[in-house]
Symmetry: C2
DNA sequence: GACATTAGTAGCAGACTGTTACTTATTCGC
DNA sequence: GCGAATAAGTAACAGTCTGCTACTAATGTC
């Protein structure tokens, strides 16, 4: 039973996932994977595997499914427990590189399924877990945050609506710093700092997939 | 590696899950579980295990997580791939009985965690998957449907708002039948029949958990 | 036939969303 | 310096959605 981790980070304009070609193996890309050590919990193994490839600890790690339906795994495992980890952009460990999450064609069939499942989990839980915030450094601009949301949702969001909803949820506090990004007005920096809430749930949603 | 299935169905006033005391084992309750057969996919194994205990095929079956962190499994498995299946109320197979999902105290620690995860998955995906509909027979009243939503969400819903949102989503069509439930006006029967849609997604939600 | 009980709907007030249009603050080119 | 270009950030309006109250409708019970 293998542990496979899809490590996701926002690059310029698209989401990136970590991949590499295994030394002396095939020409297929693989995501970070390995076997759990004796006495190691599944989550600890996933964290270790992700960290070794990314060169840094994932800031958020979630299980994204277990695959075992005869599709070949690079290590020959019958079953793969797959995880998705997110972290801010970073230089990966030697051998690993960021690839565009929207075109996973270089990966093998098992890993393509795992990547699709990982991205689906990120999208599903985006409104309940601080996924986008964990993809950014502690201080970020609201435009950066919006860009991450747009990558994850794969659709454009209106600036005013986004900020209005964000502030209504009391999820960020402004820092007393501004960052100038070349031309244009400097953007204020914010910090993820969820305050109070746990408000009464509103209505029922019927969104057939 | 075991396969464990939490089988859920709406009983009078609360959700029920299938459990039994294993013959000559311990006094702990267990959910349906087993080992995948050679060449059997994980989903096929889960479907088989659920059907044998429930006496009927689950109408919806979803993976709900994989547990393996040292907590004891009744079969001694290190890792358990857990699933959640739903179906309309039915008489279970001999030996199995419905127990209240809200008080899983009779189960062992591993199964308590699995049950909590299963219920969380049901709640999370309630707005994207026809979970409530698969817990009801093909013809049902809107009051029955609302009762299932209330069990799953563990909160009361306002009747008018519920029906307005339901009809706006074009998920049900009325049958030309009415059912009288003792006293009170007879209720019209409906059928799950999602039509068109796939509408443009609305805004961004920020709901810290 | 009055009453209790459940199904189902109309309509209002307030909240939320999408959008346009604006103001503010900076760099670039001259 | 000074206007143009660019990006951040806000105000405000109109349309939509939600929570709620209050109602009507249809049946069984006494």
């Amino acid at each position: 039973m293998s542990i496979d981790v899809v490590v996701v980070s926002p690059l310029a304009g698209h989401l990136g996932i970590l991949g590499r070609r295994e030394p002396g193996r095939s020409r297929r890309l693989v995501v970070p994977w390995g076997w759990p050590a004796r006495g190691e919990s599944l989550e600890a193994a996933a964290r270790r595997i992700a960290s070794e490839a990314a060169g840094a600890e994932p800031r958020l790690l979630m299980q994204s499914g277990t695959h075992g339906d005869g599709v070949a795994h690079p290590g020959g495992a019958f079953v793969s427990v797959s995880w998705v980890g997110v972290l801010p952009p970073a230089v990966p460990a030697p051998g690993w590189a960021w690839t565009d999450a929207r075109s996973p064609g270089g990966f093998g069939p098992r890993h393509r399924g795992i990547i699709a499942g990982a991205v689906a989990v990120l999208r599903q839980r985006l409104d309940h877990e601080p996924i986008a915030f964990r993809m950014l450094p502690p201080l970020f601009t609201l435009s950066e945050l919006q860009a991450v949301y747009e990558m994850l949702l794969e659709r454009r969001i209106h600036k005013a609506s986004f900020r209005r909803a964000l502030h209504a949820a009391w999820l960020v506090t402004p820092a007393d710093e501004w960052r100038s990004e070349g031309r244009g007005r400097p953007a204020q920096l914010f910090r993820y700092a969820p305050r109070r809430r746990r408000g009464a749930q509103r209505g029922v949603r019927f969104d057939p997939t």
